[in-house]
Symmetry: D2
């Protein structure tokens, strides 16, 4: 069978290398070219020595005319602002596109503008006409649209953990849609590969902190998805924290339950929505879930709890921010878009310890 030919732009960042690690053992894929703006001409394995012998392809400047471009699908593992300028080139040739950034998570220019303002980018999208065709790439919510789409915006890592953790409770009407709080904790790899004083090892060792309190950009996509799901406008409180580990997100989610909700109805709601999901595992109150349970895997683990003293739902939702929160979820989208078994190349449990 002819293999799917993949182009990867932004190959040298954490999102790029995470995808390469998965593609190496994906039975239906061949990597057509690796592209990036730095480390041009170096073999990727000179930058990431663990890939030596597995993938020694050189890094091309995407503008290099000698760079192969005969792909079936292109991944943009690039920061905000890059893919919106390049995606059309591929789409016009019939090549599908999956983007990691916020460039295609919003399918109208006004929503994009609100988002872009938050991250300090030009509010104007570079290619607003293509936006309506973009699909938000969370398979558990949009599988069918993803299957039909040529352009998918992969979700933000915090958004994956929050939306997956909360959707069944909201959709089933078990909670009051006001006073929803997401308290999220992330490992440092979520900040990417570029060194900074905040993520310098000695400064980060034994350091945890909240940041962007009341102002994180993932709020928009979470609110949009939750509003779509519930059919009314949802506003949320979201506080991100950085903790001194490399991989892993915990979102601790609080909402007020409506009367008569109990563990049984709650569990039913999650089973009903996620019963057939290959990458979601639901646990009940009392089971302790750790980020190591999902590290290196494409799973989202969810624990359900009710505080009957205060009438609160408390959901714990865990992912590996670089897998289900990024490269793994992107590959899941590719499998769906290319009409192959959705779990292909993704069924790894990770390593413990």
């Amino acid at each position: 069978m002819k293999k799917i030919r993949v182009g990867l732009i932004g190959a040298t960042g954490y999102g790029g290398v995470g995808l390469i690690e998965l593609l190496i053992n994906h039975p239906s894929v061949t990597i057509g070219a690796l592209m990036a703006k730095q480390d041009i001409n170096k073999p990727i394995s000179a930058i990431y020595p663990h890939l030596k012998g597995f993938c020694d392809l050189p890094v091309f400047d995407p503008a290099d005319p000698d760079c192969p471009d005969d792909f079936d699908i292109v991944f943009y593992a690039t920061p905000d602002g890059v893919s919106q300028k390049g995606a059309r080139r591929w789409l016009n040739k019939g090549v599908k596109v999956i983007d990691y950034s916020g460039d295609f998570r919003f399918n109208d220019k006004d929503s994009y503008a609100s988002y872009a303002a938050r991250i300090g980018k030009t509010k104007e999208h570079a290619d607003p006409d293509v936006l309506p065709s973009a699909v938000y790439g969370l398979p558990e919510l949009h599988r069918e649209e993803i299957a039909k789409s040529d352009l998918v915006g992969n979700p933000g890592c915090f958004a994956v953990s929050c939306i997956l953790g909360f959707s069944p409770a909201l959709k089933s009407g078990l909670i009051d849609s006001k006073d929803i709080i997401f308290d999220a904790k992330s490992g440092v790899s979520g900040a990417g590969k570029t060194p900074s004083p905040t993520f310098h090892f000695p400064a980060r060792y034994e350091a945890m902190n909240a940041y962007k309190v009341t102002g994180h950009q993932h709020v928009y996509e979470i609110e949009r998805e939750l509003s779509l799901l519930s059919g009314k406008e949802i506003k949320i409180t979201f506080t991100p924290h950085v903790v001194p580990l490399s991989r892993g997100i915990i979102a601790t989610i609080y909402a007020n339950i409506v009367s008569n909700v109990n563990m049984e109805s709650l569990t039913d709601a999650y089973s009903s929505m996620y019963g057939n999901e290959p990458f979601i595992r639901v646990f009940s109150h009392g089971e302790i879930l750790s980020t190591t349970d999902v590290r290196g895997s494409n799973f989202c683990n969810i624990s359900l709890n009710i505080d009957s003293r205060t009438g609160k739902l408390i959901v714990i939702s865990l992912i590996d921010n670089l897998v289900k929160g990024q490269a793994g979820n992107a590959l899941q989208n590719m499998n769906i878009m290319m009409k192959i078994e959705e779990t292909t190349g993704l069924m790894y449990p990770g390593n413990f310890p």
Copy 2:
């Protein structure tokens, strides 16, 4: 000047060694005896080599008749259930007592029974008659009672961060007293010195998790203090998490603001209550606070934030769980009880990085 003679029971745990580190350079104190149930007769510096040359006193069995007992004050750095059986002996001799555990955090037997049930202990306090004289040892709330007391129950580490972070907002009526949420994250040292599978290094490396969701025992003392402060019954939601670092607690606190509250009124409330506090530093929205800013010191750092989109107060409160959350706060209590300058032996900034 005659030095204060200190007896320390439970000298070999983290709470004990943390106190010794501080007492070594305290100008008005001499250590009368170290006591513990293990490592009897060993010099403390054989157990904790960093103390070698600073404190080489042997560890006595507290039941050993040769153990000195001519103290001015005794610290119980022991687990729940120990000091309630021993405190009276010292009190009867006119020796003051500070206890780290929950044994003297509640001054009536019913409150104690509720607490004890939660931690799986006999509900009956061993010495209920002494309970009414016990004072909750949080100087910022009970300084004057502590000064008059002979028996102080040092607060739980989570409770310190939560109560200090939230009291001014509650006391000043700036928030609705319903829907108060404390999402707390702690380093591992809060679990003490005893090895366990959960805190085995490889199992804990890169592992973070929530635990005791809806069921942590510190809820009681937090609710009691907040209820006292506000004059009405307060119920809270509290979710503790363990993160893979040694020292540090962040409590992220959520509550609904009442109308017309803004950053100015909020800041005023905290200044009014904490303006003269030697160990509380208040920061405004946008300043990033890290646990390393309080590591090794007796300070509580607090940042104030309002999410105007959702009407939420968000307070970030940070302490070193072993200093302001334990030994440092206990020493602050001692200074108050012994009528010496409250900050004596406690003015260290900690080390960075």
Copy 3:
């Protein structure tokens, strides 16, 4: 094709779970039964939640008559002293055996006795008659014997890094066989799953130390292998250290070069011995090798250096102690013994970061 049926004794330790992680995706294997002395009847995925959905087999007591025993090969992922009492049962039935411990690393009873004395075990081997048939399971040195053997003693993790790092230099006569020093640094997972004060998270955080200076038990197998390889008796100095990370060993190896040795002759010696090895990657002076380059993979990375000022060879040898140092190497042995492609189920690069 009929799948190889594997029995795994000691399934709940790190060595057991590491093998399960690999077997899950091994195309020619089915797991016949998991056995251990603890957590009997629990699904393995209740102990290790990351396995949920991948392997939910129950843990059997190996003495349970209901435990399946129709295996093609049995792995003992058990401490010293266990397999020597059980191996014969399997061998008599024609079932092959691979043992992780020191029980079958020595093929005569006197060598075993020296080793056993060092680790504080009874010197007498429980089944000395079977010892002569045991093969030391380091494929790079004993591939052909392993292929013919029914009983393989998997090497110690330190021994793998030291022997692989040094063998070509010794074999080719490029160094003086006196004054050989191995300075080894290991992550904590090498100590296994059992909690202890030394490996309690807070005590280990930011703590590194040397231990068993002059007295580590892996010295014996290293000296035996090096002596075999060089044809003369080799004595080595070996100092192990524990550093606060989970996985990874660096062995820094020092020896005196003989005259006229240079980087070229050195590189030739390593190429000559390892040119076709699937799991060894040799790097030259100046390339920085990190344990993360081999984490989660079955590779041994080696860097070659000469200090011409002092006439020293300095080799840096890196492995993941739980993969090439344990479960991965054991599986490589299985592939060889079962006459399937040696690299099957082992070609993973690991994840970065």
Copy 4:
């Protein structure tokens, strides 16, 4: 008594902040001014929030004419190349100078040139005439010269651990002066405050590596000191490693013992040289020393071992690279130069855990 007035250049790096932490509680010192090339005019406590309330002095550009300059002593906590251009200004005014870098560790221009070539700097010292008056600031070897000097070059952190660990063995003639090997492991803070890809948290988490194999610049000062001590030219092999923790160095030192050396003669040699040293603690074979035993303190812990099988001395030497390896040792030098008690402001045990 008039306080010693200190000027600190390079106040915002780890070496600067480490000194400020100590000066805050030093009874005989007042900080005259903090200077740096970045963060000008900011209070130091805005850069390092743990100092808030302890030291809120602003950072001056050292070239600012408004910057105070009436100091008794100036510390240069700056990289190589800075103090050699500025020291004379202070010396001419009768102000003493202590420098952290390599600028004044060599007291002739040729030695400096060899060193400078190694670190890629101009070989020519900017002020060669002042070099002969510079003293190498290791109190345990040069206390009397330091007391008479106005210009002290504080040693490199690795050099402190290696020289202190090995000097008594060498001086007493207990070892062969050939084949001396220093295998050193350092925490990341030794690399300073500037972010880089190598020390980016996710890239460093669970990563350890050797670096500058055969080529580290501290070799020169170690060889110079050992040669001075033994009266003959010493050449050493030195391999530095970085491990993923913040503070701490272990130097594992290997040398061949001469005949008849045993633990007793070895211990005598160390007692004889270090018996009265306030900051050196010597331990015997079998005691496990961890970097946490010296973290946050000015101590060097040393363990002595003999491998009688191979005739090797093995010394384990531990320091906190930022205290005895930097700011603490510098302050010890200041105390000696200013004729106050050498241990003033330095007697802290550090915190455990």
